[in-house]
């Protein structure tokens, strides 16, 4: 296992110690390193919490900061944080305006966030939940509630974070986050496996010339495994699936996120984006906001995903708003 590690058991906590040292803008609550919260809460603002397993940096905790989130409960590698941790984060970030949970559609996380919401409710904290389910590959149309949440959650964060920063109410922030969720689609492809530190070997094996379309960010099997095709053909297949279930029309604007899974060079992500942009242009659709880089990784997995958010006027405004978090900065144009 080729990793910079001390004892694998301490992987997450040592990572967090590094993060707190590097970024004074975030701190932890309840004496628990894994309850990461912003160092400056803003009275009256809707709080936004997220949470989920480690191993996906900058998702989830990396987006805690100005114009984005207020707290994140941090789990073990690919494991949900506990309900208790989510609850502690909730209590810390609530500023009287309630808290919105945004997280990915995984049973472990749902069960724990549900528990946390019950606990917060007993304290009189209003909690709303938006559960990201952008991964087109993980279930068919009509069964969207079964889909996994992957990199597209970034757009939900960005939208909700900007809405909360504008001072909107919990209902309004939740409405906008949910709108971003409903209008986001992601397709991924993996070329190699990740290695979970405590497991120490590849989660799955894949041939030297193979790719897996639709693989999940924990190594969950995808839709089809085939011979690695040229980059353009890979994008054509991924975009084909996204476009088939959306209604982009000429003149529409979208936001695009080309996300690396951890082991793929940035150069290659731009080769993928080039093709995405050609396909959108061919339909008269404008990629108005573009991010290319690592946003939701799977440790050292080689691979990429394409997420597209179908903009409307208010989503456009919120996506464009400034943000400044330890792992993500956006200077408004």
């Amino acid at each position: 296992m080729k990793k910079f590690l001390n004892d694998p058991v301490n992987f997450v906590d040592e990572m967090l110690e590094g993060i707190y040292k590097a970024h004074p803008a975030v701190t932890h609550a309840a004496g628990d390193l894994r309850c990461l919260v912003t160092a400056k809460t803003r009275p009256g603002k809707v709080g936004i919490a997220t949470g989920g397993g480690s191993g996906h940096l900058p998702t989830f905790l990396g987006f805690v900061g100005d114009g984005m989130l207020d707290g994140a409960a941090v789990g073990g590698v690919f494991q949900s944080p506990s309900a208790e941790q989510m609850y502690q984060v909730t209590k810390h970030i609530d500023q009287g305006a309630g808290v919105l949970y945004i997280y990915g559609n995984y049973t472990g996380d749902i069960i724990n966030f549900d528990m946390a919401a019950e606990l917060a409710d007993l304290d009189g904290i209003a909690v709303r939940q938006v559960v990201g389910n952008d991964d087109v590959a993980s279930s068919v149309v009509g069964e969207e509630h079964k889909r996994r949440g992957v990199a597209g959650i970034f757009f939900i964060y960005k939208t909700a974070g900007a809405a909360a920063a504008e001072g909107l109410s919990l209902d309004e922030v939740a409405r906008l986050a949910d709108k971003a969720r409903l209008r986001t689609r992601t397709m991924g492809v993996a070329l190699s496996s990740c290695v979970v530190p405590e497991i120490g070997h590849a989660t799955f094996s894949i041939g030297e010339d193979e790719m897996e379309i639709g693989m999940g960010i924990h190594g969950e099997p995808g839709i089809s495994r085939k011979k690695l095709a040229p980059a353009d053909a890979v994008v054509d297949e991924m975009m084909g699936r996204i476009i088939a279930e959306t209604d982009y029309k000429a003149g529409d604007d979208v936001a695009v996120l080309v996300n690396g899974l951890g082991g793929t060079p940035l150069e290659e992500l731009y080769i993928l984006f080039r093709r995405v942009s050609q396909l959108l242009e061919a339909r008269g659709v404008t990629a108005k906001h573009v991010w290319v880089g690592e946003f939701a990784t799977s440790m050292e997995m080689a691979g990429a995903s394409i997420s597209i958010l179908h903009l409307d006027e208010e989503l456009d405004r919120l996506v464009a708003a400034p943000a400044n978090t330890p792992f993500f900065q956006h200077v408004a144009g």
Partner: protein, 213 residues
């Protein structure tokens, strides 16, 4: 041994801890097929933590209190799906046996009924959805039947473990509807459910433990 006492429960958790230490790699591999390979880790970690916590607490705390400690410890140490569901199960079982010093067959039926109901409520799955619930339900119903028939605890648990293993076998033909496996419907057919495997392990070890003492 025809009742399970607080001291026994502490030993049982140690035995469960050993069991999941042994089955760690097997469960990693099983969960890896249509999941994320963490089940071996979370189960071994959470039962180890629970066994330690029970040991530290000591038999004087009583059965209900020990089960609560087990549940709370597991919820903290392994908040994955199975970790949280297992924790929920023990927390509900704790309530169901409140005030009992020694569990007989009828108490054990109440234990597993509460365990099953807790998992069902938290996970929102139905029997037949290819989850842990598919073995919890026959465990609970078998123990109820055994209790009505006046069976001694060791016989009742053996019957429940047999029923659980049959039910586990039956999960092979089911299509996963929940958790990470749900995305791979057809691919899950032929595979036994990982969480259900844990459930069958739990009851079989409990039966063997009671039989051997």
């Amino acid at each position: 041994m025809q009742t399970l006492k607080a001291a026994d429960l502490i030993y049982l958790f140690k035995s469960w801890k050993d069991l999941f230490a042994e089955q760690r790699e097997f469960l990693i591999a099983l969960d890896g097929k249509v999941g994320d390979s963490d089940l071996g880790i979370t189960m071994s970690k959470s039962f180890a933590a629970a066994a330690e916590a029970l040991e530290a607490e000591g038999e004087a705390a009583g059965i209900a209190r020990l089960l609560r400690t087990a549940g709370a410890t597991m919820a903290r140490t392994a908040p994955s799906t199975m970790g949280t569901l297992t924790a929920t199960g023990f927390l509900r079982a704790s309530k169901a046996v409140e005030g009992r010093d020694a569990l007989e067959t009828a108490d054990m039926a109440a234990f597993w009924r509460a365990y099953r109901d807790g998992v069902a409520e938290r996970g929102k799955a139905k029997v037949g959805d290819k989850t842990l619930l598919d073995v919890l339900d026959p465990i609970a119903t078998t123990l109820e039947a055994q209790a009505s028939a006046g069976a001694p605890l060791s016989d009742a648990l053996k019957a429940a473990a047999d029923a659980a293993e049959q039910a586990l076998e039956a999960t092979k033909s089911m299509l996963a509807q929940h958790g990470k496996a749900a995305a791979f419907q057809e691919k899950t057919v032929g595979l036994q459910d990982a969480g259900a495997t844990v459930g069958a392990f739990l009851i079989r070890r409990m039966a063997d433990f009671v039989a051997s003492r």
